[in-house]
């Protein structure tokens, strides 16, 4: 990038909000995926106007621009793979308003998901999207990736709570879409189009979300199974029974053993699978739902069922699930958390497949799943320094995808496409779908400067 252009950009945001020193660039060369590339400059704008001015310069000079929140995505989505400008939104971190009457909140993109959660909870409300990374992930990042989380099963994903956006387009124009109303059919739904676009269509600078009243009560159940089939069949049975848990999480034996090795929580290591179930809602209906679920679990041969008596016990039960990720991470230097998703009726088949593929390539894979919605997180652990092992890991990832598609699934439930999954897009989307997508991209960003090198 030309020196004068850097100076011009620096003048827009101010010298303390622009940097191109190599140490700083290194810190913006990665996210939670393996690939890295340094940008030429990092900018920390404070307003929509500054971002618009930045985009005008980038557009004029045809410079790549990669928006970035906390950089926690797992697919290389915020790696500036073609260099250029990183626009980091973390300094735009104000909750602009919370409206308890209309149940909406307006926030800047740098607000951390959990910070919003805490504020609305004080007022008796809830913002359902709860990615496991919520203590650091930004609202902009969660919108741009359409993030989900454990509660997604009952409550849906980010797009289901998104009402409106302000977005700076590639040429610097400012797009306002949606509004504060729950219903809105005025024109194409551009809000949803931007949601999940991974920074390839525009830079989100303001977000209006919908809130819901916080459910008054919740319960937690754990069930252990000697056979994995029974465990995943129980998931399908619960989902068919009509009750919708807020979360329904599965851990396979490999993961349970890893947890015991690292944290010794007293989990049974002879089981093939454990389910953790959370129900929420009104106290009166919970009792009935628990009975229903208990019956499904017994029908599917659960060896042991624990219903937490109080919130402290519930917390203890959930600790096992929370320890699962860390336990897997501690096993080996590197981890890839896959994200293939299948219809819940195909859960058992997919889990068997994953295990079989892992074994065949002599690669360690543990399975965690947001089981209720068929979203698997096979955790592949390895040492990237071992070239041969890394090749086998890549082979595992490549084989997983056609298997998921063959079962009527998708290659990513929530982690997104980025660099990691871009080559596989063509297996899931046909040529018509791909060309419509390309057409949309060309319209929004004719010069291809927004987060280039990613899926479109």
């Amino acid at each position: 990038m030309r020196h004068e252009t850097k100076k011009e950009l620096e003048r827009i945001v101010g010298p303390d909000k622009a940097t191109d020193s190599p140490e700083h660039l290194v810190a913006y060369s990665y996210d939670a995926y393996t690939e890295e590339r340094r940008p030429d400059i990092v900018l920390f704008p404070a307003t929509t106007e500054e971002i618009s001015a930045i985009m005008k310069v980038a557009h004029r000079e045809t410079i790549p621009v990669t928006p970035r929140g906390a950089g926690t995505n797992l697919a290389g989505e915020s790696v500036p793979i073609r260099g250029g400008i990183v626009v980091c939104l973390t300094k735009m971190d104000k909750i602009l308003s919370i409206d308890a009457e209309s149940l909406t909140a307006t926030v800047q993109p740098g607000v951390i998901n959990l910070d919003l959660q805490r504020e609305v909870e004080k007022l008796g409300m809830m913002y359902p999207p709860d990615p496991a990374s919520w203590a650091v992930a930004t609202m902009g990042g969660t919108v741009a990736t359409n993030a989900g989380g454990p509660r997604t099963l009952k409550y849906g994903v980010t797009k289901d709570y998104l009402l409106g956006l302000i977005v700076v387009l590639a040429n610097g124009d400012v797009l306002k879409t949606g509004g504060r109303t729950l219903k809105n059919v005025t024109g194409y739904n551009l809000t949803t189009l931007i949601c999940g676009s991974e920074g390839t269509l525009g830079i989100i600078t303001e977000i209006i979300v919908r809130l819901i009243p916080k459910p008054p009560a919740s319960r937690t159940i754990r069930a252990d199974f000697m056979k994995l089939e029974d465990c995943s069949d129980a998931v399908a049975a619960i989902m068919a029974s009509g009750s919708v848990p807020a979360s329904l999480e599965l851990m396979d034996r490999f993961v349970v053993k890893a947890v015991e090795r690292s944290f010794k929580l007293g989990l049974p290591t002879d089981v093939e699978g454990i389910l953790l179930i959370q129900l929420d809602g009104a106290e009166e209906t919970l009792g009935r739902e628990i009975k229903q679920i208990e019956k499904s679990l017994i029908d599917k041969n659960a060896r042991n069922i624990i219903i937490a008596k109080d919130s402290a016990e519930a917390e203890r039960l959930w600790l096992a699930r929370r320890a699962a990720g860390p336990a897997m991470m501690r096993m080996r230097p590197n981890i890839i958390t896959e994200d293939v998703t299948v219809p819940v009726s195909k859960l058992t088949a997919m889990i068997r497949k994953v295990t079989e593929i892992g074994e065949r390539h002599r690669i360690q894979v543990g399975i965690l799943a947001h089981a209720g919605d068929g979203n698997l997180h096979p955790c592949i652990v390895f040492d990237k320094r071992d070239d041969d092992e890394y090749k086998r890991v890549q082979a595992v990832c490549e084989e997983l995808i056609p298997e998921a598609l063959a079962l009527g699934g998708t290659l990513s439930g929530e982690h997104g496409i980025g660099i990691a999954k871009a080559p596989f897009l063509k297996f899931e989307m046909d040529t018509v779908a791909l060309s419509v997508m390309q057409g949309i991209k060309n319209y929004f960003d004719p010069k291809g400067i927004l987060n280039p090198g990613k899926f479109v």
Binding site: P22, G110, S133
Partner: protein
Amino acid sequence: MKGNKVVFPESITDDLHHCFKCGMCQQVCPTFKVTRQEYYAPRGRVQIVKHYLEGDLELTPTLEHILMSCMLCDACAALCPSGVRVDRLFRNMRVELDKYTTKKLGKKLVFAILRNGERLRKASRLARIGQKFLVDTLGTNSKMGNIPLARLPRITSESFRQKVPEKITPEGKRSGRVIYFTGCATDLIYDDVGHAVLRILGRLGMEIVIPRDQVCCSAPLFLSGAVKASLPNIFKNLDILDRVDADAIVVDCATCGAALKKGIPELLEDLGLDTERARRVAKKVKDVSQIVSERLDELPIQENLSGEPLAVTYHDPCHLVRGMGVAADPRKILSRISGIKLVEMEGSSECCGGGGYYQFDNVDISAGITSRKKRNIMATGAHIVATGCPGCRLTLRGNISEDENIEVLHTMQLLSRSLTNKRT
């Protein structure tokens, strides 16, 4: 390995590959929270060190600033799902930095003084005069870092260790024998804490040995990378502490405690030196609150039943809660004192923003961290903040103004005040 030639212990370089860049550590990092810039986050620092070792970054003032602006608060290491020992990594990297350094003359002078006990005492006498002179000439509003001169503690006129006997035997039956490692702060600034500790341990029937020749624990040196300079002091203290026979080694300063308990054995291990003696000593090191909370029932605590209880909040020093794993004991003690009510603040275990020269070298970041802390303190409505580290005490008091009317005390001072005068 290609790249910059540094000899890090293998366990530490291996850690670099265990950081899988998840970014979860951002949530606890005080310097990231106030800057929201990745190079002030643990992950950023870890990756920058990795790139330095791989040879694609140089030692520069920017790199130095990135590493030295870390509070070494350990919050990231405690949280890291992958178990990366970030603190240890940074400490080793600071040794590397020490070779190349833009360190100011002032800091070098402080290091030279800390290394030598006699020099330290002389310097503090000078500083006492200097402090008065500065306040007199510059006025009470001028600041050092973020702290108005008038809110800095007064340096004591005489060293605490020189004043008290080297061995104190209890009046009644002896219930144990401890070595009291006073640290520099109690020796030269906060002798009020020293007297409180002696009073309390005395009431418990402890025989107390206060070796006069103990020296600075050297944490301020080796945590800044001045490892070579720190070794003579470390060995001298280990000699003394290992020689004197005692049930426990008591500290009232969280930093000294964390250094003796964890920092020094790990440092020696990283240097490939023998750690046996350091580990033997470490086993005996206890924060004073640990000793006292076990035997709280034996203390003659005044029952004060009249009036509204005074609200007290507790700040967990980084070096106590994470460095030594002590959080429950001080709270147990505070809850036992009648006439006060413990009100927890939000984020009690978050760093106060001070520590070492930090607040003087990194004024903006430090001010941001401290103001978060202060907000949380104010929200409790407490009139007293109890804590267990002289560094935190200095920072907190320094940043609370006169008319905000909040006292900052060591937990032992509060406890000592609540003891009856008569013996049980």
